[in-house]
């Protein structure tokens, strides 16, 4: 076990060293969420006197945005952590070293988590500074929301990383965009009940819907639905296992096809 910890630590430190040598690599983690936050912040201010729902829960749009960014940034951060190895044509060295697939997944997950926090914490503080809105007012459930959304985003990131490993970097743009297909059915800015019935079925199969419904319940009714959060946590855990299995499946397919040796830009 100590060997596994040493290898995971090595992989995390490899990313920390890269961030330290190139701060620009972290800028996009803050830049896009910050731009979105400013836009939704002004929209909230504009709607505040006109919409009853917004007036009742002034931060509902900004909360939706910030929590959705946790999904987007989690997925991107994990994909980038994996792509770093492909961009540097380093996969061959990694896969013939004693590091196992699960250790590699754990290492890039931790690196992705750090990167997401480095992006989202400053943006959440900016929301407080510019618009007087603090997402931390959600209290303890925020920790649960964050954990559920991160796990779900890692599952997508692992599956996408596996696909890029097998197909090559031509699949990169799909990896960036994949998560957005889930946005309309996640109920980020509106309740799931507005969706057609068949889309609601899909929505309730995703942990994101429970999180955003839970967020609105706290902000409008001051109720925490821990039971629904429990379901969401369970779903995220299942998706994470499935995501890792997809990554493993693509890894085995890459070993058969011989695409691990020469991948790179």
């Amino acid at each position: 076990m100590s060997g596994s910890i040493e290898r995971i630590h090595a992989l995390v430190m490899r990313h920390v060293w890269i961030w330290r040598s190139s701060v620009m690599r972290l800028v996009d983690s803050i830049y896009w969420p910050a731009v979105q936050m400013v836009m939704w912040g002004f929209l909230t201010q504009y709607l505040l006197p006109q919409a009853t729902f917004i007036a009742q829960a002034a931060g509902v749009l900004l909360s939706g945005l910030l929590l959705w960014e946790v999904v987007v940034r989690g997925n991107l951060s994990l994909s980038i952590a994996f792509l770093e190895e492909m961009w540097s044509r380093n996969l061959g060295h990694l896969f013939v070293s004693p590091i196992r697939s699960w250790e590699m997944a754990a290492g890039i997950i931790i690196a992705a988590l750090l990167r997401t926090l480095m992006g989202m914490i400053p943006v959440s503080l900016m929301a407080w500074a510019f618009f007087g809105y603090s997402i931390y007012d959600l209290g303890l459930p925020l920790v649960a929301f964050f954990a559920i959304l991160q796990m779900f985003s890692w599952s997508i990131g692992l599956a996408m990383s596996g696909m890029i490993m097998r197909v090559g970097q031509s699949a990169e743009s799909f990896a960036w965009a994949a998560v957005f297909i889930l946005m309309p059915v996640s109920g980020v800015y509106y309740p799931v009940s507005v969706l057609p019935q068949w889309l609601q079925t899909i929505a309730w199969a995703l942990p994101t819907a429970y999180v955003f419904e839970g967020m609105r319940a706290i902000m409008t009714d001051k109720i925490v639905h821990w039971d629904l959060l429990g379901i969401a946590f369970g779903l995220s855990a299942v998706y994470l296992v499935v995501g890792f299995q997809i990554f493993q499946w693509f890894f085995r397919a890459s070993r058969r096809a011989g695409t691990l040796l020469g991948q790179g830009e």
Binding site: A10, N90, H93, V96, S97, R100, R255, L260, L261
Partner: protein, 257 residues
């Protein structure tokens, strides 16, 4: 099992669709030997090395390294192996030191800082340990790649074109070092190269590969003698162009293939 071979390959085969990259390859490498894999482009050298390392899954056959079945338990052998290849780079944005520390940790090297200093001294890369790997010349990168390949003092070292981008002086020095390392540690080295001088100097034994099959095997001296040539370069050209005494003998079935 000190007398068992370091590497044992039996009936190894790799097929991509209709292309047979490696076909029924069988060989062993005794402990402490240096085996050269020779062949033209597409002969199956890199494919064979990739299968030995577990980077590529064979279509059929068995591979054992250090007594470990590489198709079932490769993680038991990988900490005792290492490799270098021009097809794989080290992270360009990390410094040379960071790369060596990173891989040292992955391989569980003890007293890592001291090992990094030692290998840097031996590989003559101490002067640029703190420079980003991407800023090095091709020759410097090759020396760093070999340093990474030696960081865990491997018992089995697989080298694909280890001196390809080195100037003649540095390449000569590198060959001397690899020979010295092999003598000091008793490591087994499998070397794929297009440099025939390198093969003559380093290898105890050579496998000539053609179209994924063993064309001929022997020590450099035996092969030169058998083909009636002056050096390995001429032997290689005979094989590549399908001519000469060696090939005539092969056609008559006097050689093993």
């Amino acid at each position: 099992m000190p007398d068992s071979p370091s590497i044992s390959v039996r009936h190894l085969r790799k097929v991509y669709g209709e292309i047979v990259a490696v076909d029924d390859l069988t060989f062993t490498v005794p402990r402490g030997a240096v085996l050269g894999l020779l062949g033209g482009n597409g002969a199956g050298k890199t494919t064979t090395i990739a299968m030995l390392l577990g980077l590529l899954e064979p279509t059929a056959g068995q591979i054992e390294v250090l007594g470990v079945d590489m198709l079932k338990r490769r993680y038991a052998a990988l900490p005792r192996m290492n490799f270098s290849s021009p097809y794989v780079d080290l992270p360009q944005r990390l410094t040379v030191r960071q790369n060596l520390v990173f891989y040292g940790r992955l391989y569980g090297v003890r007293k890592l800082q001291a090992r990094v200093e030692e290998i840097a001294e031996r590989m003559q890369i101490a002067g640029f340990l703190d420079r980003p790997s991407g800023k090095l010349s091709a020759g410097q990168k090759t020396r760093v790649a070999i340093a990474k390949a030696l960081i865990n003092r491997p018992e089995v070292l697989l080298l694909d074109e280890p001196t390809a981008s080195l100037d003649p002086d540095t390449a000569d020095w590198m060959r001397s070092y690899l020979k010295e390392y092999q003598r000091e540690t008793g490591a087994t080295i499998l070397l794929a190269s297009h440099n025939m001088g390198e093969v003559e100097r380093l290898c105890d034994d050579v496998i000539l590969l053609q179209a994924g099959r063993v064309f001929e095997r022997g020590s450099p001296r035996e092969l030169i003698e058998r083909f009636g040539r002056e050096d390995m370069e001429e032997v290689f050209l005979d094989m590549a162009r399908g001519r000469g005494r060696g090939l005539d003998a092969l056609k008559k079935g006097e050689m093993t293939s």
